[in-house]
């Protein structure tokens, strides 16, 4: 029994036919060829599949795709613009916050959601926000340092992150340049 759903992923609208049993993770990876989001356990315990759904980090292996019909999904592929990487990506590269790279997409998405509602997080707040993203390579230290650095850069307004966003009223958006000068996004806020 196939159902047609509409997903706005990284500001682009997709219409997909899905079986009710398929997860958002499967649809992203297999139907939309967005393989940046990874499968680590398929049980909601590791965070490798983290995407933002209406701005909130969720484990996409726990979301049936049909449940996300009409939603706005952000994945790692949507972080960079054509001109530049996202501030978080720059910071991860600078700090060596990725090693094997498998947990990295989910980690970036959780970090992005954190900074959207908590622009100046303490180390403890960063660690709590990332506690659902398991990493086996880095020991988390450089990831935390990178998130702190990105927060500083965004708050100082010195770097403008070019990232596609969805409009709060739900219409798919053009790519816009957003100055993350300490503002939380309007509409649904992510939970820190």
């Amino acid at each position: 029994m196939s159902i047609e759903i509409t997903l706005t992923v990284n500001s682009r609208e997709y219409k997909v036919d899905v079986e009710p049993t398929r997860t958002l993770l499967q649809v992203l990876r297999e139907d939309l060829a967005l393989t940046g989001t990874k499968e680590g356990c398929d049980a909601g315990d590791c965070g490798a599949c983290t995407v933002l759904w209406d701005g909130r980090p969720v484990s996409s292996c726990l979301v049936l795709a049909v449940e996300a019909d009409g939603g706005h999904i952000e994945t790692v592929e949507g972080l960079a613009s054509e001109q530049s990487l996202h501030v978080l990506q720059e910071a991860f590269l600078e700090h060596g916050a990725a090693q094997c790279g498998f947990c990295t997409p989910g980690m970036l998405m959780s970090a992005k959601a954190l900074l959207a509602t908590n622009p100046n997080p303490s180390e403890g707040e960063i660690r709590a926000a990332l506690a659902g993203n398991l990493c086996r390579c880095t020991g988390y230290g450089k990831i935390v340092a990178a998130v702190k650095e990105a927060a500083k850069a965004m708050a100082a307004g010195t770097i403008t992150a070019s990232a596609p966003v969805a409009m709060a009223d739900g219409t798919p958006a053009e790519r816009v340049v957003v100055d993350h000068r300490g503002d939380a996004p309007e509409g649904d806020g992510a939970n820190a």
Partner: protein
């Protein structure tokens, strides 16, 4: 205590990270071939049983199924023991059959249609029970009921490996002792828990043979295994290695690949065979659980007259991947000891087959000996750091196997770690009296570990357009040993910026041989080969340029992507010009390099069985932690973690820090949270909900201190880096818990329950 050596080279961004950070890097989980089928494996649910009958006929006819295989599909099922079970299964998880179907759901459904009739056999799960004569035999029945001769005489055939070391007169040492300390330590089974489960995609073509994409630490090891099991020449097994999503020793050999190949050949279509996370836990290569009996003969002044160790490792259902040989050499510690006797046993049981996990044998041996060193110090009334400093090796000392120790840095590492933690009291010592429910303490531990060897070859090619390429089949596990160290080394020899050197990763048919990424060997061996290849190329380029510029090669230097005469800089040829000339007339400009790894000497009369005789160019290291123990719950929180490690020469400092931080946190997981729990041969917690990896909220930021004391043989003085950080952590934490609470914990993990119960037993309540 920072290194006084200058930076090896500039920092830049590795090319693999640029793709990984954008979610564009190719992992085997992302590989998709046209017509690809989905495979699943039927695994035994019983721990030990004869296979009386397998009937796959219903599964073969199920919707979507294109192939079903069992051991009878192997060219030689006996060679394939461990791939697909032939007449018996040895543990709950052993592969019995496999299917490939058009969808993953169809494959899963088909498994339930495979009928297997088992005749259960008596099983054994405890290694000490398994050693005793009369224990159920895990392997195929041998000729005799017990081992006939040698070290293992009278023991069960379940004892797969013996490792022994003897040096001096141990009985005399104990006869002369002022103080004897005798203890038993135990460590648990833990899993590498890389975030990317194992997976293989295979296809078969009649002309080309088998072609495999797999998440692995060695494409050549997979090729060799598959070629043997499927009785194919190696040229007809082509293995590609996309970036592995973590490995830590768990992906050193083959597991899924031969089965994927069988399914691909039988179905005529590519097959994707992946482990679920549950299967990953069940069928991995976890760390050997250990039981170590250790006793030391001490003099009042702190001299160690003798040390006797008896260690038993549980190796699970299959004997490969032994860690007891290395553990035996580590088991007495990097100290001057009058007499040493070590007896190590690796024993089969009906559980997961244990194998290499980052520092195999290290955490087990170091937990025992470094906890024991603290106990010895306290028995003598000595400070644990002073006691270690008094006995630690220095250059020129000999190991228990008679190896001459050179470039030793135990004391430097220990001094650095102890100072950083604020020994003996730590920096966060709360002004709490004995009534406080939260108590703090600091602990230290030291260790040493080899730099792995094995053959590595690299080619460095100058392209027609003047760009430089390093060709390798070395696997990048994440440390940067391939994508950072190799460009850094080649750039150094050709005076380029590392970003101007590109790494081209080859498969087994196109790339130069490398034995594999493990054993802390990559930068040393692969880097050594890259250095040799770069020097080879440099020589060719200088020879060519010398002829064309009318000078001798000695007058030439590299700079600005050119070869030029420093004394007369207008005399120059760019790399691009040289390349074009050489490709047309005198080329091609391809440097080749291998690394001839050393084999350090030792006294063979000291070594019996599988014990390691010597460690090649060892690294030394020390860790110190400060913990807070909640006396009411037993919870241990690590407030600070310090790691001081001698890396020989830091080619890639950020990558080294990443290895130290990641390794210590991984070990922290073993120290406090992780355990694979078995009940009656069934793994009770094959998931991340109940197998507890440390989260970002549970661990501190590791403070790493890099020391550089050059190795004897490594390129630029490099020593191995990746495994040492996992080794001393368990003991450092247990020692800190002791200082905080006065309670010695003899078993890992130090879960809140274990610590709480130990505290209360001590209190007598």
């Amino acid at each position: 205590m920072p290194s006084t050596m200058e930076r090896f080279g500039p920092e830049w961004v590795r090319q693999d990270l640029i793709d990984k950070i954008q979610g564009k890097a190719l992992f085997t989980w992302d590989v998709k071939l046209p017509g690809m089928l989905y495979g699943r494996i039927l695994r035994a649910a019983v721990p030990h049983a004869l296979i009386k009958r397998i009937d796959v006929s219903k599964a073969a006819k199920a919707k979507g199924v294109e192939a079903v295989v069992t051991a009878s599909d192997l060219p030689d099922p006996v060679l394939g023991v461990g791939v697909l079970a032939l007449h018996k299964v040895r543990y709950a998880g052993d592969a019995v059959a496999a299917v490939a179907a058009r969808t993953a759901e169809q494959a899963a459904a088909a498994l339930s249609l495979i009928e297997v009739e088992y005749e259960p056999l008596p099983a054994v799960f405890d290694p000490e029970e398994a050693m005793a004569p009369g224990a159920p035999l895990v392997g195929d029945p041998p000729a005799a009921a017990t081992q006939p001769e040698g070290e293992t005489a009278g023991l069960s055939p379940n004892v797969a490996v013996f490792a022994g070391i003897e040096d001096g007169d141990i009985e005399r040492a104990f006869a002369q002792a002022d103080v004897v300390v005798e203890e038993t330590y135990r460590t648990q089974m833990v899993h590498q828990a890389y975030i990317e489960p194992r997976i293989a995609v295979a296809q078969w073509q009649p002309g080309r043979g088998y072609e495999i994409w797999t998440s692995t630490q060695s494409v050549h090891a997979v090729r060799a295994d598959v070629a043997i099991v499927l009785k194919e020449p190696e040229t007809r097994v082509i293995v590609h290695g996309p970036y592995p999503g973590g490995a830590f020793g768990g992906k050193t050999g083959s597991e899924l690949e031969p089965i994927a190949c069988l399914l691909a050949r039988k179905s005529g279509r590519p097959v994707r065979l992946a482990n679920t996370r549950e299967e990953e836990f069940l069928v991995g290569n976890p760390r050997h659980p250990s039981i170590t009996h250790i006793r030391s003969a001490l003099k009042k002044d702190g001299t160690i007259l003798g040390r006797h160790v008896r260690m038993i490792m549980d190796t699970g259902a299959y004997p490969g991947g032994s860690a007891i040989g290395v553990a035996a050499l580590l088991s007495t510690g990097p100290y001057r000891i009058g007499a040493v006797k070590v007896e190590g046993y690796s024993v089969l049981t009906n559980k997961s087959s244990c194998g290499s996990f980052r520092g195999p044998g290290g955490p087990q041996a170091d937990f025992a000996v470094e906890s024991h060193m603290d106990s010895c110090a306290r028995a003598l009334g000595m400070d644990p750091v002073e006691f270690r400093l008094k006995n630690a090796w220095v250059d020129g000392d000999r190991s228990p196997t008679g190896q001459l120790m050179q470039s030793v840095s135990v004391k430097e590492c220990l001094g650095a770690a102890a100072q950083a933690i604020g020994w003996p009291s730590g920096r966060n010592a709360a002004a709490a009296g004995s009534a406080s429910t939260r108590r703090r303490g600091v602990g230290v531990a030291v260790g040493w570990w080899f730099t792995g060897t094995g053959a590595s070859t690299v080619t460095v090619k100058l392209n027609d357009d003047g760009t430089v390429v390093v060709q390798t089949t070395g696997m990048e596990l994440g440390s940067g040993s391939v994508y950072a160290s190799l460009p850094a080394i080649v750039a150094k020899e050709l005076n380029l910026h590392p970003s101007q050197v590109v790494v081209a990763h080859g498969d087994t048919s196109t790339g130069p041989y490398d034995v594999g990424s493990w054993g802390s060997r990559i930068t040393y061996n692969l880097g050594g080969a890259a250095r040799a290849a770069a020097i080879d190329l440099a020589g060719m380029l200088k020879d060519e340029a010398a002829k064309r510029l009318g000078v001798s090669p000695d007058e030439l230097a590299f700079g600005d992507q050119s070869v030029y005469v420093p004394a007369a800089p207008q005399k120059r040829l760019s790399l691009r010009e040289l390349a074009r000339l050489m490709y047309r007339y005198n080329g091609p400009p391809v440097g080749r390099g291998s690394f001839v790894y050393p084999r350090p000497g030792y006294d063979r009369t000291h070594v019996r069985g599988d014990a390691s005789g010597a460690f090649n160019d060892p690294a030394y290291f020390a860790q110190a932690v400060e913990v807070e123990v909640d006396m009411e719950t037993g919870q241990v929180t690590v407030l600070r973690a310090v790691a001081a490690q001698d890396v020989g020469r830091a080619i890639n400092p950020q990558g080294i820090e990443g290895q130290i931080e990641g390794g210590m946190v991984q070990a922290l997981g073993q120290a406090l949270y992780e355990e694979m729990v078995w009940q009656d041969g069934q793994l009770v917690n094959p998931n991340f909900a109940d197998y507890k990896l440390p989260t970002a909220a549970d661990v501190p930021a590791v403070e790493s201190i890099i020391l550089e004391k050059p190795s004897t043989q490594g390129p630029y003085g490099v020593k191995g880096v990746g495994e040492p950080p996992t080794c001393p952590t368990l003991a450092a934490i247990a020692n800190a818990v002791y200082q905080a609470t006065g309670v010695r914990i003899y078993e890992t993990p130090l879960t809140p329950e274990r610590v709480f119960m130990a505290i209360h037993r001590q209190k007598g309540s």
